[in-house]
Symmetry: C2
Subunit: 339 residues, 2 copies
Amino acid sequence: MKEKSLKKPTASLSHIAEAAGVSKMTVSRVLRDVDGFSEATREKVLREVEKSGYLPNRIAAAFGPSSASTLVGVCVPRMSSHFFGVVLDNIEHTFQRFGFQAIIGSHNQQVSEEELWLKNILAWRPAGVLLSSKHHSKGTLKLLKDAGIPVVEFWNLNTSPLSMSVGFNEYDSGFDMARYAILKGYKKAALLGSLQDWDSGRLDRFTGFEKCFTDAGGKIVHKDKLNDTPGFYSGFYGTENLLNRMQDVDMIYFQDDTMALGGLAWCQRKGIRVPEDIGIAGWGGHEAASILVERLTTTEVPMQKIGTLSAELLIRKLREEPTDDVTAVTAKLVEGTTL
Amino acid sequence: MKEKSLKKPTASLSHIAEAAGVSKMTVSRVLRDVDGFSEATREKVLREVEKSGYLPNRIAAAFGPSSASTLVGVCVPRMSSHFFGVVLDNIEHTFQRFGFQAIIGSHNQQVSEEELWLKNILAWRPAGVLLSSKHHSKGTLKLLKDAGIPVVEFWNLNTSPLSMSVGFNEYDSGFDMARYAILKGYKKAALLGSLQDWDSGRLDRFTGFEKCFTDAGGKIVHKDKLNDTPGFYSGFYGTENLLNRMQDVDMIYFQDDTMALGGLAWCQRKGIRVPEDIGIAGWGGHEAASILVERLTTTEVPMQKIGTLSAELLIRKLREEPTDDVTAVTAKLVEGTTL
DNA sequence: TTGAAAGCGCTAACAT
DNA sequence: ATGTTAGCGCTTTCAA
């Protein structure tokens, strides 16, 4: 019998109250710093709090009609993505600063998983939720409506958001890349992305790219949907697979920078010259994109800003301060040496 | 007046109970699937639950003496690290599967921030916590002891853990790398890492490296502590800075692979040959390490395994199933072409 | 198999 | 400036 089932020795408001010779209510007021106590009382109470090692019980506080929950749900495709990692760091840090706790989940690009996550999270009666992307299941929409809590859709911009949205125009970023590619003389492009992201309708950049590219006389010669998560590996092997089958391609537009860098590495190993033999374009603005000998042509997304703004916006809404429903940030093309 | 302050229209147990013509208690039993109801009752109840869109209130359930919290706190240095991103994905996924919710925070390698985070988290009365690394403040230790909840220290192994630990032997991984370097004939090594990680005592791999390297007749000619987070950039500029000042170096051991790859990129840009002019060793096993033309010599850490095991271990402990206190996973050296 | 009652820790509302 | 009361939604305990 190593650990006993411990009898909750935790001090509560009434213990403090008793020790300080005041009522629970007074202690509560002091701790929350709402007025209704004298300086002398305050000091007495705080001394007892200190002595007892009292830890507030937010479960109890969030319970009842007060319902002052400081929990916030955040859902992203996956945390191991560099992009979302940076966004999450900023979201979490901002919430922390303002006294909120983020409960983070991932949905792996499936709206059904997002819905499942949401159902679990709502059981904790969060003050609000942050959802990446604008794709949601019917069930998710209903749950959110019933919950009646503020929602921020972040990452790519939703111009008619459920409640608020922060992000960039993804379609345009692809469109711009196509214009640039055409300008550089490319005519035969392949698109390379992850099956799951693509088929769940999350690759608007490809749609924008295709539209501009074909309208300008270019041709999308191939679309390769890989049954794998985007990353250096999938970019590497995806490129190998693609170029072994298709020769008549003069550029590849990758889903993101990690894949593009994987593709670039494959080309370098094979002695395929970039951009002379084939052009490569990425997306996102990965740290590594700008330091390699061949600097990647890509679209830089302001990840930090998206994270911080999203969290701040939710907090403002909770405080009933005025907020913009739609906050656009710019994703801009950076010229490298690969396209 | 766009949004009213919503009067909690949420259905509760008693609503279901009334609609189904049974007592709250029966509904509770059905929903938790503990015995004490007939099949007929079950169906009646579930039908009403369905109809009403009832969402359980875990706050209320976690309240009171029952205290059946399914919240778990998880704290890592930062989420934007690829390593911890992968670990977190696996932790979160495992907890999700078993009905737990992870509250994730970051401490940016400062024990004081971990303590602050812990204090906030404990106010939510979590069932347990997962902490990366074995470095904690006195305050953290006291809080954990008072809370009396199970703790898993993950990432690098703590052989005398607070309660349980899952990880690799970091000292040994550096030791092994040094042995390998000596074998390859290197004599004059520089260490390059982030100031914050280093000074908070989190770079045992450097200690192990130095011990083995110097014992074998090598010399650590320089230790460069960068005031920046580890990453491609800091590796790139750190290398530039180091090699501009010091010529008499035949290898660099980097804090991690992202830094090493940044350093490698700088060398390639400058026409410095790797490993002929200088050897490079990384640590961690980043995806990109193995695909570039120069494959990085590094130590691969089983990140997925650490994440999954840590979560499973905590769950086992909560269920009072037998658990190992110390679970070692192996980090192994992989030969690349850079050292 | 079912129900009734008590109570968890806190805060809003209403005294004093 | 301070205290009292009531109740949030659920589960545990005890009774039927």
